[in-house]
Symmetry: C2
Subunit: 347 residues, 2 copies
DNA sequence: GTGAAAGCGCTAACAA
DNA sequence: TTGTTAGCGCTTTCAC
């Protein structure tokens, strides 16, 4: 029933169909070139032999592996950060529809006290022509990857804006964090909140600054004061818990709502509310960012990045990049969506 | 500084080192065959040309891609199920150390109302010789994959026991769920609990039955009754919440602790406690399964699967499987570890 | 210990 | 429209 013997080759199909190997190749790659009856005959042979082109041979000949490389950053446990994983799923799906597969690699173990090599893992894959292009996702830290890859003439698309480089020459796709936080803040304002606090990250992160800007500009637009309504802390639950407590205590008239730079910080805020017997939504509203599983199961209102959409755009940019006729690299900015749950709705 | 031109080939290195191409190949694959000085000369040339063997050519010639295929199952949102993602990270890392990369693929979109093809995606990769082997992770559903892959003589290692097939001929690695739940139950017993309830899945899942067995045998071993202390529901937060409420109400003397088949169900139980003003740990203890990020940030005691270890074993089995001398396929059962947090410890 | 020849399976270029 | 030729870069024989 099945085939224990080696897979059929192009030559097998050609022999079976009574045509040359090249004709079979054309039947697969340029079916228009064949006369309908020849095509049908070849397709029959392909089907009956269960033929699939050998990837290695095709890869060697065409210099295209149909593989997209993506470096997996170490999983962050004890946080609610799940964006990377959701993105991997989305990318695999989007790639499949474009005829690509995703090759995952890691930067390698980083020795104690050493900085990780920003290009670790990329170089080998590049020189060995194992992948056609990269998706670079960890530009968040200040993207030394994009510079290095550009120097090496490696095709790549970034998931993340080229913050530090206005005239970057690579395509990118990003999510408009400021717009997401703005939507969150407007949502809270619409519910009557006026003292809306920002629970954000320490300075130095462009993403963090961007998200904060969404809060700040919305407050200003509504003529609301931001004084004493802001904290900048590391991205941990404990830091969020403490910062929320401090904000609630410090102001003469404490915040009635928190907008957070991450679900992790938002969970910290929820812990503080619970410890004080305050009900999320009813007493104090909390909104997070990322729509992690944590937010979903805790009923935390959160800003959801459209990662599926982002992946589709990334793959589209990639195909443009790899197309024979080079195109101007594009940038795509997507709007996130607010997922409203009980942590922000008065019951 | 960098190389805008095509990567160096073996021939380039040979010319530079003043040897034949074959000698360069030997320098890489069988260094022992060369005289030390020749070897050194070749290695110099390799370094100065920044040479890395072309994967496609090597793959074509050796029939080995050094790629491990793994099918990504659709992400489960609104649950705390994060095992698959943690496993992917672990597998990428373990593969790297063995000189392999991980190729991700998806089963393809499933049409409305149709069952997904259990072998979707596998076949093409197999026939096109794109991957050397598979890691099959979704055996949980009753593994039609393993049967199909065996028929096709595809090398694979399963993450999950061959439940339905005592004399399965493929290697596998699994985590002893019963032992994990037993540890959780013992933990609760050690804290003085006697009415320990099992919040489990509906029948039909071997994994679910296995985990339940860990609870049941521990209760029996301690001479504790299990009557009225058990629920079998779908794996959702809402189901867990309702089941926990029912269990608390139904018994004359309700359970003082819940052991759950998943973090998702455990979160449901926590919701019920919160709604009744009960404090987890102090009033009623709750233990989950999977050590998801949700458990970590909510302070939920949970059974953690040793996925890093599992990945290392999987890759080891894979290498055995792909080695020239075939070995008896092995099975490895790993013990999980209980991560104790505040949801089970009296304050 | 080193080199020469052959060929893995495919497709780009050209010839018929 | 179809067939022929050549070669992608590498490794596996087998001579030297």
């Amino acid at each position: 029933m099945e085939n224990p013997r080696p897979p059929a080759t192009l030559a097998d199909v050609a022999e079976r169909a009574g045509v040359s190997r090249q004709t079979v190749s054309n039947a697969i790659n340029n079916p228009d070139l064949l006369r309908p009856d020849t095509l049908a005959r070849v397709q029959d042979a392909i089907e009956s032999l269960d033929y699939t082109p050998n990837q290695a041979a095709r890869h060697l000949r065409t210099r295209s592996s149909h593989l997209i490389g993506m470096r997996l950053t170490p999983a962050q446990e004890y946080t609610a950060n799940t964006t990377m994983d959701r993105f991997v799923h989305a990318l695999v799906e989007a790639s499949r529809e474009a005829g690509y597969h995703v090759l995952l690699f890691s930067g390698g173990r980083v020795a104690e006290g050493e900085l990780p090599d920003p290009l670790g893992g990329y170089d080998d894959l590049l020189r060995s022509t194992a992948v056609d292009a990269f998706v670079v996702t960890d530009t968040y830290l200040g993207n030394p990857q994009t510079v290095g890859l550009t120097l090496r003439r490696a095709p790549f698309v970034a998931f993340g804006r080229p913050w530090d480089d206005a005239n970057a020459q690579h395509p990118w796709v990003d999510v408009d964090g400021a717009a997401g936080v703005q939507a969150a803040t407007e949502h809270l304002r619409g519910l009557g909140h006026e003292r809306i606090a920002w629970l954000g990250w320490e300075p130095g992160s462009r993403i963090g600054e961007d998200r904060r800007a969404g809060w700040h500009r919305t407050m200003v637009a509504h003529g609301l004061s931001t004084t004493g309504l802001e904290a900048a802390v590391p991205d941990t639950v404990a830091a969020g818990r403490e910062a929320a407590a401090t904000l609630l205590d410090a102001s003469d008239c404490g915040p009635t709502a928190f907008v957070c730079a991450s679900d992790t910080l938002a969970v910290g805020a929820l812990h503080t509310l619970a410890a004080r017997g305050l009900t999320p939504g009813d007493d104090v509203a909390v909104v997070g960012f990322d729509d992690s599983q944590v937010a979903q199961v805790m009923g935390l209102t959160s800003v959801r990045q459209p990662l599926e959409e982002a992946a589709v755009h990334l793959v589209a940019e990639l195909r443009l990049l790899l197309a024979p006729v080079p195109t101007e690299p594009g940038g795509v900015l997507l709007a996130p969506r607010l997922e409203v749950r009980t942590s922000s709705t008065r019951g």
